[in-house]
């Protein structure tokens, strides 16, 4: 039905160079929406595109569409700090994120699109006895869940990341760290584009600039959507619209337990390689890595209020930079080049919802909070399973929307509390 896309390789690159690169095909088509699909995915971010990809690949559903309000990958997929890891505390989360990490490990080859997944390690630094206790607990849990994780003492932290300040005299000295060597970073946009290309090649229609205005439900069964580009019928609809999932849920009277908050990030000007891993610190609120281009990629916690505005308060940025300079004093004369904000949708237990609803054929995948990027392939994998079989995959059984009424939470906040 569709022409298989031409394979990307050094050879195709050389070959095309001789025709001035004028024979490359579009990475995805831009079709008009059809009247009817076997399934519709609302939201063309990473999670939506992977859902479509795995629906086609794993479940043979190819008459499907991804409906995107703006441009694909334009939400948090293109606004995050690209950290990938699976060293989660709880079994349920660890299983899901580890599944995703395994998919990351083969993603470039699977998609024939280089997503630049770079396993340069993710280090979570402890600054207090409480941190040490909590991080060791995570380390042991990861170990027994067969997720690679190491405990580094202060000296080993310094060896692994020589520019970190381990002086015992700083306000919150480095007391050790966990290290997941298989963790790292990837090129965020490429993930959206690569999956879009893969899905498109299997016949999935990717429809941009198309906003959903209502959901059509008949007798408890979803039957289609209204969009700014006309109505489209389908008996299976997966909503993967991050914070705007609440808006769509509202269309059919479902209230989701989501809060949407600004999350800010920034990059420095590019410099030659200076930090070769990802360093995260919860206690002093900052994380930093260096992109292939040479920019320091820096992020921190969310702003403390709900908002759909993709910007936050400057005080948060200031605090983040302060923490970075505290931990890496040599960065003091570096400069912030670009700053941006995204909106993260957070569940009360900081774990996602990947779930059926009481309306037949209507599924939600949202609430990824600050951690959705790393889960992208795993999220799509299990959500595709859920939509195709009308039953959750074993990995997303715990992430049902019902857990908020039954109380079986997967609380990844951990305790905000510190000891006596």
């Amino acid at each position: 039905m569709h022409k298989k896309p031409k394979k990307y390789s050094i050879f195709s690159l050389i070959k095309n160079a001789f025709s001035y690169h004028e024979n490359w095909q579009p990475v995805w088509r831009s079709p008009e929406p059809k009247n009817n699909y076997d399934a519709i995915i609302i939201g063309g971010g990473g999670h939506g595109l992977t859902t479509a990809y795995y629906l086609a690949k794993n479940h043979g559903l190819t008459n499907i569409a991804v409906i995107e309000k703006g441009w694909i990958g334009g939400g948090n997929t293109g606004r995050n700090t690209t950290i990938i890891r699976s060293n989660y505390l709880w079994d349920q989360s660890a299983a899901l994120y580890e599944h995703a990490l395994k998919l990351w490990e083969g993603m470039s080859q699977e998609l024939n699109y280089n997503v630049m997944f770079s396993q340069r390690g993710v280090m979570n630094v402890a600054h207090t006895l409480h941190d040490v206790r909590e991080l060791k607990r995570r380390w042991h849990a990861n170990r027994l869940n067969d997720i690679d994780c190491e405990w580094l003492n202060t000296k080993e932290v310094k060896e692994f990341c020589p520019i970190i300040n381990i002086s015992p005299n700083i306000r919150y000295p480095v007391m050790g760290a966990t290290l997941q060597r298989r963790g790292g970073t990837a090129r965020h946009d490429a993930v959206a584009w690569g999956y879009a290309r893969g899905a498109d090649a299997m016949g999935v229609d990717i429809i941009q600039n198309c906003e959903v205005t209502s959901l059509n439900v008949n007798n408890g069964q979803v039957i289609g959507i209204e969009t700014t580009r006309g109505s489209i019928k389908s008996k299976k609809i997966g909503v993967v619209a991050a914070g705007h999932s609440s808006v769509i849920a509202n269309m059919v009277g479902i209230r989701l337990p989501l809060e949407s908050r600004p999350l800010q990030a920034l990059v420095s000007e590019p410099v030659k390689p200076v930090i070769d891993t990802v360093v995260m610190s919860n206690t002093i609120h900052a994380y930093v890595s260096q992109s292939d281009k040479g920019e320091l990629v820096i992020g921190a916690g969310t702003d403390g209020y709900t908002s759909y505005t993709q910007r936050g308060g400057f005080n948060i940025v200031e605090d983040t930079i302060t923490a970075v300079v505290e931990l890496f004093p040599l960065f003091s004369r570096m400069k912030m080049l670009r700053h941006w904000g995204g909106i993260v949708d957070i569940c009360p237990d900081a774990s996602p919802i990947i779930s059926k609803t009481h309306i037949n054929g209507l599924y939600f995948n949202c609430g990824w909070g600050t951690g959705g990027f790393k889960a992208t392939p795993g999220s799509g994998w299990v959500f595709a399973h859920t939509i195709a079989n009308d039953e959750p995959h074993k990995l997303n059984v715990p992430f049902t929307i019902n857990r908020f009424s039954s109380g079986e939470l997967v609380d990844e906040h951990g305790a905000a509390a510190v000891a006596h």
């Binding site: 990958g73 770079s118 030659k272 004093p329 237990d349």
Partner: protein, 975 residues
């Protein structure tokens, strides 16, 4: 201007004059090659004279004061300045990386998405090489010796930009006696006017304003860039000071009204090989020539699509040593005043022509020009070669709408000169002058006058009509936009740069479009256009024009990418200000802190508090010290500084009802003078805090919280009071720091109390457990509570902070005979663990209910409601197979488990099924063995069961036990 200054570039000594930028000083010395581009390592020179510069970026200085990616166009030279070019090896002149340029056809935009995938797993090896090649300057490697400050400023009006419109606006406003702040990014006021010969009014304005500076509510800050326009007219500026100690200041400005007068940036034209050193923006070239005589510049060519570049031609014409070869104008003709003047001067003008190529690898030496066809799509006729040392280019002007756009104002696309200009404001601001799309001087003056007049009316003021100024009118003919200048080569062979630093060419944009990256954001991200350190100040509009040309979508439908802060890059150190090192976070200490320090205590960070962790004597290690402290407490007297516990004073008619709602147990019947332990839940039914609350009066309580949670509990309580229960009359006051708390524990505690206060009856009948009494010690009013976190007889003395240290020392004087021993948090942990008391945040982690802690006794069944009640009784939160608090004893009594160890029932190959984890673990000197607390799945039922803690090197066998290890019947409390 006359003072000679010597400086070094790439190890070679040069001299310039005071007032020179590094760029102008280099030009003065005939140095045009100053950098290499990011990807192809093409030789590059300065193309502008300002903050929009993409090419001339250098590493300034070395060692601890080095700074990467500094724009040579912005930095003023000083004696001994040492700059180095970036991104080249072995040298700027001979850069091996330029081999990339030869093979550039294999590296189009996004090539890296298509390759480096074989063999699998090799990406990181390729990546290593890519990373080495990428980056520009080098990060400093040493601590920054400089200091940075944050200043705040509030004003009626902030004027951003000290060009003619800003100056004029400031003058009009200052006359009206408003509080005005004007900020200019350059060291001098004047903007474009500094380059004009004819119009001198700005000099008068500058003189007037400088005289008024720092007087009458008027302030000028120069050398400062407003880099962010946040909500509620909150703007941030970064001032460069460069004095010995303080390097930069961040100004945090809140203005009632903002006047944006940020000017405009000249555009480039996109033609083949438009990036050679010696190709410059026309107005920048003019600035340089007016400022300094460039060595070796004999012949110049001007390439334009508008009238403004003719001023450059005219200025150069009057320079004797320079010959203006020609003006190449893509338009059919021009009736503009400047074009006419140039024609009259005899400057050769080629209308309907374009520069279609340039020659000269490290410095331009000639241009190829050609006639254009009717629609400007093709080069026709025979091309001509003109030799030149400098090519001045103008593609029109782009209003600097960055701040307006950051303020969330909406832009309008003006087709006539292809500019985005401010349309609808979102915040309380106005734009005037070139940033508002008003370019002609007299019109700028008129617009400024009328807009400021309107603004003054808003403030109830009147404009001073005598202040009106005018200028001679200059007529500019229309520009003709030509986004892609035709070439006689195949498009695929051209190198027409759009983003100079990132090496993005017009054909890269075409490739992106061909491949389906059509949204402006996709094109930006795929080609990286506009993402270099200049953030596309010159290139973005050309990229848009090219996209529009190639895709057929009109520019106003494409829209712009989002304008994000900062306008120009901002130093991390400046953003951090003084909030690093000793000021990184408040260090809270208790009134007795110095005593602990003097005693050689080791400290632990608990929240912001420094708490004594243990008090080693001589060469004691932590274990020995803690064992000693624990034993002394159980056998004599242990004394703890508990001042860090949060204390909240709860007062008001509904205080009891309030406590009923926030704690799980009932409070209404607590007698005055009594204390009660409470558990606080989150709305998810999970334990978030605990502590003892005492009833001081009918409507008065004092609550204690955990040390680390004091602030968050306080704000949660306020949240509930203010947003959920406004009907309750309750007032909360944090009194944590008002009281020092001394906890006296152990069998001899009553004896010490007797000595402290001989007249008081401390018998257990008169002063029972869980009560408090107001007692005077040496005439100081103290509140003494009989509560216990150790299981020993314990008196917690709360005394006004200022008496804390004196009382603490008095306890030691009087308690000497009972072996009074200070104990720290570690011993406190052991003592309470021996008794099975929980620590919130250690035994709990936000997923633990009171039922899980086997503390159902504290959850009132009768109360109508309390926070977390509904959630607590959800089907899954009351399940009996949840993780529950138990004690753990290792088979080997000398084995101390690691806190955080996981527990399993069966040892299997990983993954192993975990049933719980060790929350606390210590050596108990009183029991002579290790003890631990743990949360274990169905643990309460499983007491006696043997399970394992699998460690990396071994599995430790343990037994599930009762969590109370010492004195389960609480006999010691009343001994």
């Amino acid at each position: 201007m006359n003072k000679k200054i010597s400086f070094t570039f790439d190890g070679k000594k040069y001299s310039g004059f005071e007032g020179d930028t590094l760029a102008s000083a280099l030009i003065r010395n005939g140095v045009f090659l100053v950098g290499r581009s990011f990807k192809y390592h093409r030789p590059r020179g300065m193309i502008s004279a300002g903050s929009e510069e993409p090419n001339a970026i250098i590493q300034l200085e070395s060692g601890e004061i080095t700074e990467p990616n500094v724009r040579a166009t912005e930095i003023k030279i000083y004696e001994g300045l040492n700059a180095t070019s970036q991104n080249n090896w072995p040298s700027l002149n001979f850069d091996l990386g330029s081999v990339n340029d030869l093979f550039s056809r294999f590296f189009p935009s996004g090539f890296y998405y298509k390759t480096f995938m074989w063999p699998p797993k090799y990406w990181e090896k390729y990546e290593y090489l890519i990373r080495q090649a990428a980056g520009l300057g080098r990060s400093p490697t040493k601590d920054d010796p400089h200091q940075y400050e944050h200043f705040h400023y509030h004003c009626d009006i902030l004027v951003v930009g000290g060009g003619i419109s800003g100056l004029y606006a400031a003058k009009l406003l200052a006359k009206a006696n408003l509080k005005v702040l004007i900020i200019e990014q350059h060291p001098e006021l004047g903007g474009q006017c500094l380059n004009t010969d004819s119009f001198k009014t700005h000099e008068v304005l500058i003189k007037e304003l400088e005289e008024q500076n720092n007087k009458d509510n008027f302030k000028i800050i120069k050398n400062s860039t407003v880099f962010a326009y946040m909500h509620s007219n909150y703007l941030l500026a970064c001032q460069k000071i460069n004095n010995a100690k303080i390097r930069q200041i961040i100004w945090k400005i809140r203005a009632t009204k903002v006047v944006l007068a940020t000017g405009s940036i000249e555009r480039f034209l996109t033609f083949d090989n438009n990036d050679r050193p010696g190709i410059m923006l026309a107005n920048s070239a003019r600035k340089y020539q007016n400022h300094c005589s460039a060595k070796d510049i004999k012949k110049i060519v001007i390439f334009t699509n508008n009238d403004t570049a003719y001023q450059t031609a005219i200025d150069f014409f009057y320079k004797q040593e320079v010959e203006v070869q020609a003006v190449i104008d893509v338009r059919k003709n021009s009736n503009g005043d400047l074009a006419k003047k140039a024609e009259k001067l005899g400057i050769k003008i080629f209308f309907n022509h374009a520069v279609i190529d340039t020659k000269g690898r490290k410095k331009i030496n000639s241009v190829i020009i050609s006639e254009l066809d009717e629609s400007l799509d093709k080069a026709i006729g025979r091309s001509k070669k003109l030799s030149c040392d400098l090519l001045c280019v103008s593609g029109g002007w782009t209003p600097t709408v960055h701040l307006f756009s950051q303020s969330k104002g909406i832009l309008f696309y003006r087709e006539s000169d292809a500019t985005f200009i401010p349309d609808k404001s979102f915040q309380n601001e106005i734009s005037i002058g070139a940033c508002n799309g008003t370019f002609e001087l007299d019109e700028i003056l008129k617009e400024t006058y009328s807009k400021i007049s309107g603004l003054l009316t808003e403030f109830g003021k009147k404009i001073d009509v005598k202040s009106r100024i005018n200028s001679e009118k200059i007529f500019y003919d229309k520009l003709k936009h030509l986004w892609i200048v035709p070439s006689n080569k195949h498009f695929g062979r051209t190198k027409m740069f759009v983003d100079f630093q990132n090496d993005v060419t017009a054909k890269d944009i075409k490739l992106a479009l061909r491949e389906g990256y059509r949204s402006i954001e996709h094109i930006k991200r795929y080609t990286t256009t506009g993402m270099a350190t200049d953030q596309g100040k010159i290139g973005n509009i050309n990229a848009l024009g090219i996209i529009s040309d190639l895709s057929g979508v009109p520019i106003h439908k494409l829209g712009t990418t989002t304008f994000r802060l900062p306008y120009t890059p901002v130093t991390f150190g400046a953003m951090a200000g003084r909030h690093i090192k000793e000021f990184f976070d408040v260090e809270r200490t208790t009134p007795m802190h110095q005593w602990h320090v003097d005693c050689g205590a080791k400290f632990e960070d608990v929240g912001q508090w420094k708490r004594a962790w243990y008090y080693p004597i001589e060469n004691e290690g932590i274990l020995q010290a803690v064992n000693r402290e624990v034993k002394a407490t159980r056998e004599g007297i242990g004394i703890l500084d508990a001042s860090t516990l949060g204390k909240i004073d709860v007062k008001g008619r509904d205080a009891s009802e309030f406590l009923n709602r926030v704690y799980t147990n009932a409070w209404s019947k607590l007698d005055i003078g009594k204390c009660r332990y409470g558990l606080m839940l989150g709305d998810d039914g999970m334990v978030i805090d605990d502590g003892v609350t005492s009833r001081l009066g009918e409507n008065h309580y004092v609550m204690t919280t955990t040390t680390g949670n004091a602030a968050s509990v306080m704000s949660k309580l306020e949240d509930w009071l203010q947003t959920e229960w406004p009907e309750l009359k309750v007032y909360l006051t944090s009194v944590t720091e008002q009281f020092a708390t001394i906890s006296i524990n152990g069998p001899y505690a009553p004896k010490l109390m007797n000595k402290l206060c001989p007249n008081h009856d401390f018998s257990k009948d008169n002063f029972p457990h869980m009560s408090f009494q107001n007692i005077g010690i040496d005439d100081v009013h103290c509140r003494v509570m009989r509560i216990s976190f150790t299981g020993e007889m314990c008196y917690e003395i709360n005394v006004p902070s200022s008496y804390g240290k004196a009382l603490w020392e008095k306890c030691f004087d009087l308690g000497n005979e009972y072996n009074i021993t200070p104990y720290g948090t570690e011993a406190m942990h052991v003592l309470r663990a021996e008794k099975g008391f929980i620590i919130v945040g250690q035994e709990t982690d936000g997923s633990v209910t009171p039922i899980d802690l086997d503390m159902s006794w504290i959850v009132s069944k009768k109360k109508y409601d309390f926070i977390g009640k509904r959630a607590l009784y959800r089907s899954d939160t009351i399940r009996e197979d949840r993780k529950q608090l138990v004690g753990i004893l290792t088979k080997d009594p000398n084995e101390i488990l690691e806190e955080g160890s996981q527990l399993v029932e069966k040892i299997t190959p990983v993954p192993m099924e975990m049933v719980g984890h060790v929350t606390s673990s210590y050596y108990s000197p009183n029991l002579g063995r290790s003890i631990a607390l743990a949360l274990v799945k169905e643990g309460i039922k499983k007491k006696g069961l043997k399970i394992y803690a699998p460690m990396p090197n071994k599995a430790i066998e343990v037994e599930i036990t009762n969590p109370v290890f010492i004195d389960p019947s609480n006999e010691r409390l009343s001994a």
